[in-house]
C-alpha cells in the first residue's frame, strides 16, 4: 500500500468517526423523536445530536429548505407526525396561530433546569420554544477592493452606494453590489430590513391595520432601487444561494448578507484565495441617518408538538435539550453559527451578528398577521424596482393585497 492510499484510508476513518455521532445517554427510557426543520450546517448538527440519544423508540429528522410548507400539516394530525419543529421567530407564528405546539413550562421545571433563561422564548407568560442560535444580516466586504479604491468599510447604505459608484467608475467590477433580492420572500425581507432602518412601523399601533404607504416606505423603496442599479441585472432571481455563488465567483465587492452564510463564504471551498482571503465581515449598515441598523435579529429554536403523548414529548424534550448542550461544541461545529450555548467562543466570522445584537437591531416582528404582509411585500415590490410604477402605487398595492388576505384570515374587518 503506498502512502497516498494510507492517507486516504486515514481520512475515511476520520470522516466516519465524525459523522457517526457516539450514542449519548440523555436519560430517555422510551419515546419518539421526529424533527422537521430548515437545512443548514448548524441545524444539521443539532438534528444529528438529538438523534444520537439512547433509548428512543424512533429517531428521525426531516431537514429541508421547504420545512415551513410541511411543518404545520405534519403537526396538525393526532398523533402528530413531527414531535418537534425547529423554527425561527417568523415561522413559529404559523405554529402558534394554529395551536399545534405545547407550552414547555412543566417540562422545563422537571427536566430543563440547566437551560439558561435567556434561551427561553416566552409568549404571554408561557415558554413556547427554546432558542439555540442567533442570526442577522450584516455587511460583507472585499478588503482588497476597498483598499484599492482607498476607503474604509461602509457604515451606512449611503456609504455603500458611494463605494459602489467608485468601484464601477474605476472599472474594477461592473456590478459591485450583491444581495438576496429574489422576488418573493427574500425581497420582502430586504424591504423589512430597510423599512425598520428608516424607523418605520408596519401597523397602526395595537391593530392589524397596515400602514406602510408613508415617507419611510417611499424612502425604503428608493434605496432598494438605487442599490439594485449596482447589482447584476438578474438580481430579481438571486436568492441567498445564487448571491453566495456570485460572491464566490468574485463578481461582488459589497453585500448585506445572512450571518449564517458568512462561514461558507470565508472558507477555502468553492472560491479562489483572492476572494476568500479578502472576505471580511462588518457590522450591519444603517440608512437615512438612523441609528438602528437596517437589519433584523433572528433566533432559531425548537418547539414541541401539542398532539403527541406526554412520553413522546418528554423524550423529545430530553433529546433536544441534549442537542443544544455544550457537548455538541467542537472545532467543526463552533463556527457554524452564533450559538447561545455555554462554552461557545465567537470567531471573526461571527462578528457581524454580534455587532447586530450590540447595536440594538430590531428583532423580526412576531405578530400573528405578519406572514400575510411578508407575502404581499414579496409579490409587489418587483414592479417598482423594474420601473413599472411609482413607489406610492407599489405601496398602495401592497396594502390592498394585504388587506384582502387579512380579511380572509379574519385579522381585519
Amino acid at each position: 500500500m503506498n502512502l497516498k492510499k494510507i492517507l486516504m484510508a486515514g481520512s475515511f476513518l476520520v470522516t466516519a468517526s465524525a459523522t457517526t455521532a457516539m450514542a449519548a445517554d440523555c436519560g430517555i427510557s422510551e419515546g419518539r423523536l421526529s424533527i422537521v426543520g430548515n437545512e443548514f450546517p448548524a441545524i444539521q448538527t443539532v438534528g444529528a445530536a438529538a438523534q444520537s440519544c439512547d433509548g428512543l423508540t424512533e429517531a428521525k429528522a426531516n431537514l429541508t429548505a421547504d420545512h415551513q410548507k410541511i411543518n404545520l400539516a405534519g403537526m396538525q394530525g393526532d398523533p402528530a407526525e413531527y414531535t418537534t419543529a425547529i423554527v425561527a421567530n417568523s415561522s413559529i407564528v404559523a405554529l402558534i396561530n394554529e395551536d399545534v405546539i405545547r407550552p414547555l413550562d412543566d417540562l422545563i421545571a422537571a427536566h430543563g433546569q440547566n437551560i439558561p433563561k435567556n434561551q427561553l422564548i416566552t409568549i404571554n407568560g408561557n415558554v413556547m420554544a427554546v432558542a439555540f442560535m442567533a442570526n442577522a444580516q450584516h455587511l460583507l466586504y472585499r478588503k482588497d477592493i476597498l483598499d484599492q479604491i482607498g476607503i474604509e468599510p461602509p457604515k451606512s447604505y449611503e456609504d455603500m452606494l458611494a463605494a459602489a459608484k467608485m468601484i464601477r467608475e474605476q472599472g474594477i467590477l461592473a456590478n459591485p453590489l450583491g444581495g438576496p433580492y429574489a422576488a418573493g420572500w427574500n425581497l420582502a425581507q430586504e424591504f423589512t430590513n430597510m423599512y425598520l432602518g428608516h424607523g418605520g412601523s408596519f401597523y397602526e399601533p395595537g391593530t392589524a391595520n397596515v400602514s406602510i404607504n408613508n415617507e419611510q416606505g417611499v424612502a425604503t423603496l428608493e434605496m432598494l432601487k438605487a442599490l439594485s442599479e449596482y447589482m447584476n441585472p438578474d438580481y430579481l432571481t438571486h436568492d441567498s444561494n445564487a448571491t453566495s455563488a456570485e460572491w464566490e465567483a468574485g463578481n461582488v465587492a459589497l453585500m448585506h448578507m445572512w450571518g449564517s452564510r458568512s462561514g461558507r463564504l470565508m472558507d477555502a471551498e468553492g472560491s479562489t484565495p483572492q476572494v476568500y482571503e479578502n472576505t471580511m465581515v462588518g457590522a450591519p449598515l444603517t440608512v437615512g441617518g438612523g441609528d438602528k441598523p437596517a437589519s433584523t435579529l433572528w433566533w432559531d429554536g425548537w418547539t414541541i408538538a401539542k398532539n403527541i403523548s406526554d412520553e413522546d414529548a418528554e423524550a423529545t424534550f430530553k433529546a433536544m435539550s441534549h442537542a443544544i448542550s455544550p457537548a455538541i461544541l467542537n472545532d467543526e461545529t463552533m463556527g457554524q453559527a452564533v450559538w447561545m450555548i455555554e462554552g461557545y467562543t465567537p470567531a471573526a466570522v461571527n462578528d457581524g451578528v454580534f455587532a447586530a445584537i450590540s447595536m440594538g437591531t430590531t428583532p423580526y416582528p412576531m405578530l400573528p398577521q405578519h406572514g400575510l404582509l411578508h407575502t404581499a411585500l414579496g409579490d409587489n415590490i418587483a414592479d417598482f424596482l423594474q420601473g413599472k410604477e411609482s413607489a406610492e402605487q407599489t405601496l398602495a398595492d401592497i396594502e390592498a393585497a394585504y388587506i384582502a388576505a387579512a380579511k380572509e384570515k379574519g385579522f381585519v374587518n
Partner: protein
C-alpha cells in the same frame, strides 16, 4: 352490453373518479365559500434572547370555541372571489369608470394579481399550443421520411424533452440562459449588447418561458402525429403521386385531413396543460415577470400563513377557465359525433 355488465365494468373507474376528482372538487368549492373566523387578538408580552416586547397573539381558547361552533369557518359567499386578490370586482369597475383609453385600462388591470396572472396564462396558452402542434407535425413528417434504421434513435432523442422532469428541464434552460451561460452569452454576442439579460427583461423572460413550453411539449404532439402517420393510406398517396401532386400537395390534401381528428385531441390536451402553466415559472424564478393561476395557488399555500380559501377560489376559477377554453372544441366534437 347488458346494464349489469356495464355497471360492473365502469364501477372501478367511476369510484376512482368520485374519490379523486369529484370529492376534492366539492371540497375546494366549499372551502372557497368560507373564510377564517374573526381572530380573537390579545395583547401579550413576548420575551426571548433579545429582550421583551409587547406584541399581539391569537387567543387560542376563544378561537377553539369558535372552531367548535363552526368548523368550516365563517360563510362568506362569493366574497373571496370578489376581493382584490381574485376577480377584484370593485377595482375592475373603478378602473373601467376612470379609463382614459382602452390601452390604459388594460395596463391598469394588469396591476391586479388575478388579471396579471390571467394575462400571462392566456398569452402562454394561445402562443404555445399552436406552435407545439406545428412543430410536432413538422418533426413527425421529418422523422417519418428518415431512413428506417435512423428512426429509432431519432424518436428517442426527440422525446427527451418530454421525458425530462419539467422542473429539471426548466432548471437546465435557466442556467443556459443565465448571463454567463451558453445561450445567454451567445445572445449578448448576437445582439452586440453586453448588458443584455434574459432574466432581467420581462419580454425576454416571457419568450423564454414560451420557448421552454414548446420545447417540452412538442414531443407529445410529435409522437401522436407520428403514430397517425403510420395509418395514412398508401393507396391514396400513390394515387396523388400518379396525378402529379408535389410533396407539399400530398401533405396538404392527404396527410393533414387524415390527421385532423388527432389535431383536435392534441389541442384539447395542450390547452388544458398550458392553461395550468406552473413549473417553468418556478424553475426560472420568473415570478417578478410572469405569474400564472397555478403559481398564484402555490404562492397562497407556500407563505408563512397559508391562505387556503384564496387558493381554493383560484382553483375553482382555474377549473372554470379550462371549461371555457375547451368548450369550442368540445362542442365541435359533440356535433360531429351527433352527425355520425
Amino acid at each position: 352490453m347488458k346494464h349489469t355488465a356495464f355497471f360492473w365494468f365502469t364501477l372501478p373507474s367511476a369510484a376512482a373518479m368520485l374519490l379523486f376528482i369529484f370529492f376534492p372538487t366539492v371540497s375546494i368549492i366549499v372551502q372557497s365559500f368560507h373564510v377564517a373566523h374573526e381572530q380573537v387578538i390579545i395583547e401579550v408580552e413576548n420575551c426571548g434572547p433579545f429582550g421583551c416586547t409587547t406584541a399581539t397573539a391569537i387567543d387560542q381558547e376563544a378561537t377553539a370555541e369558535l372552531r367548535e361552533a363552526e368548523p368550516l369557518g365563517q360563510f362568506a359567499g362569493l366574497d373571496v372571489y370578489k376581493d382584490r386578490n381574485h376577480l377584484a370586482v370593485n377595482e375592475f369597475a373603478q378602473l373601467w369608470a376612470d379609463r382614459e383609453s382602452l390601452g390604459g385600462f388594460v395596463s391598469d388591470l394588469m396591476n391586479l394579481p388575478f388579471y396579471k396572472a390571467l394575462g400571462f396564462t392566456l398569452t402562454y396558452t394561445f402562443i404555445v399550443t399552436p406552435l407545439t402542434i406545428v412543430f410536432g407535425f413538422i418533426i413527425a413528417v421529418a422523422v417519418n421520411s428518415a431512413a428506417r434504421t435512423l428512426r429509432g434513435p431519432l424518436i428517442f432523442f426527440t422525446l427527451l424533452p418530454n421525458i425530462v422532469t419539467p422542473l429539471i428541464g426548466g432548471l437546465i434552460l435557466f442556467w443556459m440562459v443565465d448571463a454567463r451561460g451558453v445561450i445567454g452569452t451567445a445572445l449578448r454576442w448576437l445582439a452586440d449588447d453586453p448588458g443584455l439579460s434574459v432574466k432581467a427583461d420581462t419580454g425576454l423572460m416571457w419568450s423564454m418561458l414560451m420557448v421552454y413550453g414548446v420545447w417540452s411539449s412538442a414531443p407529445f404532439a410529435f409522437i401522436v402525429y407520428y403514430a397517425g402517420l403510420q395509418t395514412v393510406s398508401q393507396d391514396t398517396l400513390e394515387a396523388a403521386r400518379i396525378d402529379g401532386a408535389t410533396r407539399w400537395q400530398q401533405i396538404r390534401h392527404v396527410v393533414i385531413p387524415h390527421l385532423l381528428p388527432l389535431t383536435t385531441f392534441i389541442a384539447l390536451i395542450q390547452l388544458m396543460d398550458n392553461f395550468r402553466v406552473f413549473e417553468p415559472i418556478i424553475s426560472f424564478n420568473a415570478q417578478a415577470h410572469a405569474t400564472s393561476l397555478s403559481w398564484a395557488i402555490f404562492n397562497d399555500l407556500g407563505g408563512e400563513t397559508q391562505q387556503l380559501s384564496s387558493a381554493a377560489a383560484t382553483s375553482v376559477l382555474t377549473v372554470i377557465g379550462v371549461a371555457i377554453l375547451l368548450s369550442p372544441v368540445l362542442v365541435r366534437t359533440y356535433r360531429s359525433y351527433g352527425k355520425a
